[in-house]
């Protein structure tokens, strides 16, 4: 069987960086591609939302948000107890794993589409809902636990109006308000090119993920274990939550992937400002250097298998 080109692009980036090639994507291109992906995922979800009555989604949304609040509370004691990390670092890493990775979600989406597995098309709504709660809980752990105040105004702007939330949620609303027909003239850019852009973006992700691997030597073996086992636990939890709130097997697998993914865009930005005493290298090495590659290569097929086992019908 042929290998998924999306994974190959990622590996090309990893290889180029490990061999110390001078290959790098210009930063504007990286930003442009990520803007494109965020909007497109939003639009896709929004177009589908338009076809659904919103009422029945509310309980699902509530369950998903509750899960987002719970995840960092599970991760934190593990990081303190087993990882022996200080409060700021443990809280920061918990926030990263409580939030989500939009690219991991996109890869899972493409993976399901290639295999024609049905799933709720409005899943992007949950990406938006899951991005913020984990970060807020992580900050609360760091601040309140340390008996320190929080600038709630600044913080809210940082997390709710961060680039990725605005683009995802903006795309959702535009897709929802326009509907598929009005968006047709834009479809050739946003929808037709999505998987090609994702492949290019994975090249960049490979370059930056490999750049983080060096740091792992310094941070030791704990983060390696945490970055691979915690996602499996979280993903399983996500799949169970999906099942509980009534998602299909495909949708539950996607929710599991979200739960098992770690944020490396929104969370690092917010935590650096809110908890500057945490070492940003630790959390980024784990989220980007371990968990992202793990999910892309091992996790996604694994979570599909888990979902299949739990649901019965094979994905």
């Amino acid at each position: 069987m042929s290998v998924d080109p999306i994974v190959l692009f990622f590996l090309l980036g990893v290889g180029a960086r490990l061999l110390r090639s001078d290959l790098r994507l210009p930063e504007a291109m990286y930003e442009g591609l990520s803007i494109f992906l965020l909007i497109t995922i939003g639009l896709k979800g929004g177009v589908e939302l338009a076809a659904h009555p919103l009422g029945p989604l509310l309980p699902q949304a509530g369950g998903v948000i509750a899960m987002g609040l719970a995840l960092p509370l599970i991760a934190y004691p593990v990081l303190r107890g087993i990882g022996r990390l200080g409060r700021p670092d443990a809280a920061s890493i918990a926030a990263h794993y409580g939030s989500v990775s939009m690219v991991t979600f996109a890869v899972a989406l493409a993976w399901l589409a290639d295999r024609k597995v049905p799933h709720e098309q409005y899943m992007p709504l949950f990406v938006v809902l899951l991005e913020v709660p984990g970060i807020i809980v992580g900050i609360l752990i760091a601040k309140l636990g340390a008996g320190r105040g929080v600038h709630w105004g600044d913080l809210a702007r940082e997390v709710f109006l961060g680039r990725s939330v605005v683009l995802l949620a903006g795309g959702l609303v535009i897709g929802w308000a326009s509907g598929p027909h009005a968006l047709e003239p834009q479809a050739k850019l946003f929808f037709d090119l999505f998987k090609g852009v994702l492949a290019l973006f994975m090249l960049e992700m490979g370059l930056v993920a490999a750049g983080r691997i060096r740091e792992l030597r310094r941070t030791g073996v704990f983060l390696l274990g945490f970055g691979t086992l915690m996602p499996i636990v979280f993903a399983t939890l996500g799949i169970l939550v999906g099942r509980t709130v009534g998602l299909s097997a495909g949708g539950s697998m996607l929710l599991g992937t979200l739960a098992g993914s770690a944020s490396y865009i929104a969370a690092p930005a917010a935590m650096r400002i809110a908890v500057p005493e945490a070492n940003p290298s630790l959390s980024l090495a784990a989220a980007l250097g371990v968990t992202f590659p793990f999910n892309v290569i091992v996790g996604i097929p694994l979570y599909a298998t888990i979902a299949t086992r739990l649901f019965g019908p094979p994905i």
Binding site: E27, G211, E277
Partner: protein
């Protein structure tokens, strides 16, 4: 020869995430202006060479009188330097329009 008025220039090289905070800080401490460039670099906190969006540095330059320079440098050292990759430099510079700085 034009009359040249002596002033201080404070240079702060630090992580780009701190930019909005720095701008607020120096304004509050009395600076009438500032200039910021995107840079990369290396120091105690390792190489910050631009390969990931959060790994960028900025170089802020503030021209002001000596008390303001002192206040800015002191504030940076005490508030931000403990937790951020940061270099603080102080130099002498001349200006033509003293009321501007």
């Amino acid at each position: 020869m034009l009359p040249v008025h002596p002033r201080k220039v404070v240079v702060i090289i630090t992580e780009s995430a701190l930019e909005p905070q720095l701008v607020k800080d120096v304004r509050r401490l009395g600076a009438q202006g500032y200039t910021i460039a995107d840079v990369r670099g290396g120091g105690k906190h390792g190489d910050r060479d631009n390969d990931w969006e959060r790994d960028r540095n900025i170089r802020m330059e503030v021209v002001c009188d000596e008390p303001t320079a002192d206040a800015i440098a002191r504030h940076m050292r005490e508030t931000h330097a403990p937790h951020w990759a940061m270099t603080i430099l102080l130099g002498d510079i001349g200006v033509l329009r003293p009321e501007k700085f």
